[in-house]
Symmetry: C2
Subunit: 231 residues, 2 copies
DNA sequence: GTCTATAGACTGATAGAC
DNA sequence: GTCTATCAGTCTATAGAC
């Protein structure tokens, strides 16, 4: 299979043409609005070529998403490693969270005109959450565990359950900001500046850090502010 | 149109049969896996009846979603009003946020077997985010403004921009918890108890409140902890 | 008004010639 | 590896029965 792939790489215009045409169209118009016929027209290849090279429409989408996810995960881990190396194996919690949400937000926020096709595609993937993409997302647990471990190193006294909730909430804020940036912009009438990417990252990092460290000196117990006042 | 609807209500088995069959199937198997033919088979009606009563598949989905959204919004506002009445027109910020995220989380979390069809449908709507549903979501701005106003009353000194970000983040945490409950469960190996609905609500409310009130007495300036340390 | 039967245009997938 | 032709399945639209 490998030698087959290597041989194909040199001459296989078709495969790459399909990939780039598909990513461009999906990024622009979404998964549900783009048919295989649209893609092959854009790529100037035959309809049957898609099924020959990828097996199905879903597998084409999956390949696109996997490729972009790998790049994203590498960026995250590189930023995490840099932060931990700078701190002698332990990074401050702010830096860990920044490595988690920074690459995603930097890629997908900011002035619309400046966004790459890849970024637009990932935004679509986040919004539409088509079945093949959901399946892949569910396999990223091991990647997230690396961040949970780094968070544990940054906050030695923090209970595991709070680590996981913090990680979950950080991703929630980052993703929802990408997904619903338009709504937030309308709701706040432009007051929330979504083009100020660093500002947004700072906010997400600040809220998460606050939630993880509130009410304790620096390495005490976990957040226990679940006073359960209401119903 | 109203009198038309009233007269139809008495005898219109078909319409309601379609609605309930559609909601059940969508809740179980998702939007992309359920065809109109599946729905009319389940409802024991003719295929064309869907187009007669709803115009299109998208409008059927829209009607289902609008109906459930109205119920949800009523619950939220009722809870908000109760809290503000109890406090003489101003509710504490915790109660406001609880009214915002509580109804959604109570409906969509908890032991799987106990979830209503309506709740499962709303979870699907949150996960798949099909076009007709996205359109409706974008129209809920005015509803959210009521909560922004209540938050402003609860935190008179808080800057508007922080109010909006807090509202946005609260919804982000609530929705992502519903959407990705499975992943969080796997990641934490069951440590994060997603069946403890009140516990989850408390967490979301606590984090949001913390973010909105951190580092100031009670009615001082806004959160200004955007120190922007990193890149 | 309500519903049925039917036809149309479109989709993703595939067999088989080249 | 590529292409044509065709498949079964989808949503939509409409003529006409009740």
């Amino acid at each position: 299979m490998i030698e087959l792939k290597r041989r194909a790489m040199a001459t296989d215009h078709t495969r790459t043409a399909i990939l780039s045409a598909a990513e461009r169209l999906y990024a622009e118009r979404g998964f549900s609005d783009v048919t295989l016929r649209d893609i092959v027209a854009e790529a100037n290849v035959n309809l049957a070529a898609v099924n020959y090279h990828f097996g199905s429409k879903d597998e084409l989408i999956a390949e696109l998403f996997v490729t972009r996810s790998i790049v994203l995960n590498h960026e995250r881990l590189a930023e995490l490693k840099a932060a931990e190396d700078a701190g002698g194996g332990r990074a401050p919690i702010e830096a860990v969270m920044r490595a988690l949400v920074g690459p995603t937000l930097r890629g997908c926020l900011g002035p619309e005109k400046q966004r790459s096709t890849a970024a637009r595609f990932m935004i679509r993937a986040s919004i539409e959450a088509v079945p093949p993409i959901r399946k892949i997302r569910n396999r990223e647990i091991s990647h997230l565990r690396r961040f949970a471990a780094a968070m544990r190193r940054a906050l030695p006294g923090c209970a595991d359950v709070d680590i996981y909730w913090g990680l979950h909430f950080a991703l929630a804020m980052a993703h929802q900001t990408i997904r619903d940036s338009e709504r937030l912009d309308k709701l706040s009438e432009g007051l929330c500046d979504l083009d100020d990417v660093d500002g947004v990252i700072d906010r997400v990092v600040a809220v998460t850090t606050l939630a993880l460290t509130a009410g304790r000196p620096k390495t005490s117990k976990a957040v226990t502010s679940r006073d359960r006042t209401g119903t």
